[in-house]
Symmetry: C2
Subunit: 451 residues, 2 copies
């Protein structure tokens, strides 16, 4: 199996599962969202399915609607460190906010996770758009979109420079000469920018992967430019294959501006899976899950994405005309909802349902064969590296994927039978990056005096 033909699968591990009603499913345990052993068991199941990685979204506030459903709760690097101790291969991607963290702390935490896991860490950088989080960090209002992305880009620069601050062979550890570290091979970064001043070096040797895998997940113009410059992988939203092809073309064009090739960024659209032994069984499962989602939850969630008052939406009518793209917030999900509603001529109720009670990602409902066919078709287009798999219900939905979809993908020769490497970069077919010498540390380039 060549690197080109290798499909990649990431598990988007949203506590009880993607559907807002997943926790109400018979086999689900409501308290599992805060039980690290539940995360361990699920990661082991994904590892049995030779997934490239698991991914934990994150949000530094109590939000969404905890009265209706579980939420991302335990700090994700704590969860992933626990999982690292109980797994051997699967990649471990956590989300961290560039708006509410210091880059030194994040560079260090993810370098540490990379060491602790033998090179399996990934960092999904988000700018945390919501106003609720802002109030946990000394702000009355969130920062403007552009400022957040400016900060994120500088944040990523600093984090990468810190990961690069140690040369790979700086640790000498020679007992005879009493030389522990060759400090001439450990470098200050002396970063001075509008948002951060960070001297460095990091106090952690260079991570096993050189740099943990950098992931990005926002679909705004600023988000795509950030991904083009910094990301090794993106989690995208695509409701149709033409959308996915457009997205890939756009992202690759932006990446080219930064001198990056079309295969330098792995693209993973979200895919919500509802699997049944027959199509009718799958439809029935979706129906049952849907009936367990309180309609007021779905309505509130949709209103949040559209940034309108829920009372302004009539469940049995189409969306109001002339909804304005939010100047800030979840632009990707906004566009996705409008596109879905328009294409299907949907009522608000139908739209909520088409979004799985508010996930915002494409839903596929069917047999393992149908799902494997669809995955293979998208993969063959070259627009996606694979999928960010979002099981309807974790445990049962993921088990069905691992036991029934994965074998079909293997049979088609597009998905690994077993892990071939040891690091997340190995799984993704990404090279270990060379150390980049910070611009400030290079000899000044010769310049014409005539400027």
């Amino acid at each position: 199996m060549s690197a080109q033909k290798q499909l990649h699968l990431n598990l988007n591990f949203l506590n009880a599962g993607t559907f807002a009603s997943a926790w109400r499913w018979p086999a689900s345990t409501p308290s599992a969202f805060a039980d690290v052993q539940y995360y361990v068991r699920t990661a082991q199941l994904a590892e049995r399915g030779t997934f490239d990685s698991i991914f934990l979204a994150d949000f530094p506030a109590l939000s969404d609607r905890p009265d209706y459903r579980p939420f991302q709760s335990l700090e994700p690097t704590i969860v992933l460190a626990t999982i690292a101790a109980a797994t051997r291969h699967i990649g471990l991607i956590a989300t961290a906010s560039s708006t509410y963290n210091e880059p030194y702390n994040i560079a260090r935490r993810f370098a540490s996770l990379d060491h602790a896991s033998g090179g399996r860490a990934g960092l999904n950088i988000v700018t945390t758009a919501d106003p609720v989080s802002a109030r946990n960090f000394g702000l009355k209002e969130r920062l403007p979109h552009r400022i957040r992305y400016e900060r994120a880009a500088e944040f990523a620069d600093v984090v990468k420079a810190l990961w690069d601050s140690w040369e790979d062979d700086a640790l000498v550890g020679d007992k005879a000469s009493a030389r522990f570290v060759d400090t001439s091979r450990v470098h200050a970064i002396d970063h001075e920018g509008p948002h951060f001043s960070v001297a460095g070096p990091l106090n952690v040797p260079r991570p096993p992967q050189g740099r943990p895998v950098v992931v990005q997940a926002g679909g705004s113009d600023d988000g795509k430019d950030f991904a083009a410059a910094h990301a090794d992988a993106v989690f995208s939203v695509a409701h149709s294959l033409p959308d996915a092809i457009d997205y890939a073309r756009d992202l690759r064009a932006r990446a080219a501006v930064y001198g990056r090739g079309p295969d330098d960024i792995r693209i993973f659209p979200g895919l919500v899976t509802v699997i049944g032994g027959t199509e009718a069984e799958a439809r029935r499962r979706e129906e049952e899950l849907w009936e367990l989602v309180p309609i007021e939850y779905g309505l509130g969630r949709l209103a949040g994405i559209l940034q309108v008052d829920p009372a302004s939406l009539d469940l049995d009518k189409p969306l109001p005309a002339n909804l304005a793209l939010p100047v800030d917030g979840m632009q990707t999900f906004f566009r996705g909802a409008l596109t879905l509603a328009e294409r299907g001529n949907l009522t608000v109720r139908q739209l909520i349902r088409a979004q799985g009670g508010g996930t915002g990602h494409r839903i596929i409902v069917g047999t393992p064969e149908q799902i494997a066919d669809n995955i293979a078709e998208w993969f063959a287009s070259g627009a996606v590296a694979g999928f960010n798999v979002m099981p309807d219900v974790i445990a049962t939905g993921l088990e069905a994927f691992v036991d029934h979809v994965v074998p079909l993908l293997r049979r088609r020769g597009i998905f690994r039978e077993s892990y071939e490497g040891t690091t997340l970069r190995d799984h993704l077919g990404l090279a270990r990056p060379e150390r980049r010498v910070p611009v400030a540390a290079r000899p000044a380039p010769l310049r014409s005096a005539a400027r």
Copy 2:
């Protein structure tokens, strides 16, 4: 064994061991300082010795002298989460800086570690005095001592309020009624202070321990006041039993001001152990370890504590007269060094050695019997709850303590044969704290209008 007679032992886990030369010891592996499996094995060894806890110091910068010795590197909560997965009882205490972190992030991370470990987490709050760290966090200079401690006190208030933001029974998880969390039992904290504005609530249910154990380790007046107000345990410095008795009296008087009793704070002086089968063997071991410490390292470290130029110190003469207590920095170690030098009439070289090449804590060199006698004597004074054990070399020195000192302490009836509870608070004999309702959330007290 009654709670009163229970000695407590914490392992101060300084990478290769306390001596600067520990990494050069024959059985030591130089790269172990960044190998999480080394931390796991050591924690399992301490758990075999029924230690209450292990403790990881921390420092968000590359400092000390990495050319001469290992340093605290991997982010400690990542290490402790890994250890939690591989141990069952031992408490897990990590250091975090109140100066370079947001309280929401720290409250959440330690609540998560407490959930992940089944109630074994502790948080050692430090203000991070050094100027090197400041430059990794946007500052040219460290903040003044008093400002750091003001911030630390507010930080501790916010963190505790966040841990208390969920009532214990707020999670309903009733599938039939679709009620997940009873949001009337989850409370905003709406903290507004000079250093922080934090709305809350936390996005993590109340930790198993109610609150992770709060630890403090600074000996300045501000540090002791902070401990008196907030700490469940302190890591102190005491070079003699009278010093320990003075310290306990002082701390308990300060705690009384906050309405806290003499037994509300567990006091653990540091104790560097060098153990041999005979006293001569122990002395020889100390001699060998000492000879492996480059003198320029010890001199630099002492000069750092005294905040003087190393060139101003003559190895074969006493300390210069009239050294000024640093207005900022490690006042405890400064005072300790001066006291040691004065009492023993030591030269600079002898002082460096008396400090084990710069640890700053009391060293005991002897047989297991001598060490157990000394521990029992101090414990009987009532001035200490136990010791913050600092093995000369981890692995061999800790093995000697576990296999030879612990059995003697057990035979005397002052140390547990096995763990009796499951949480760190259980081990320490500390009650699970009641939720404190924030002042702002209480009805306003009636006040005389005449002010």
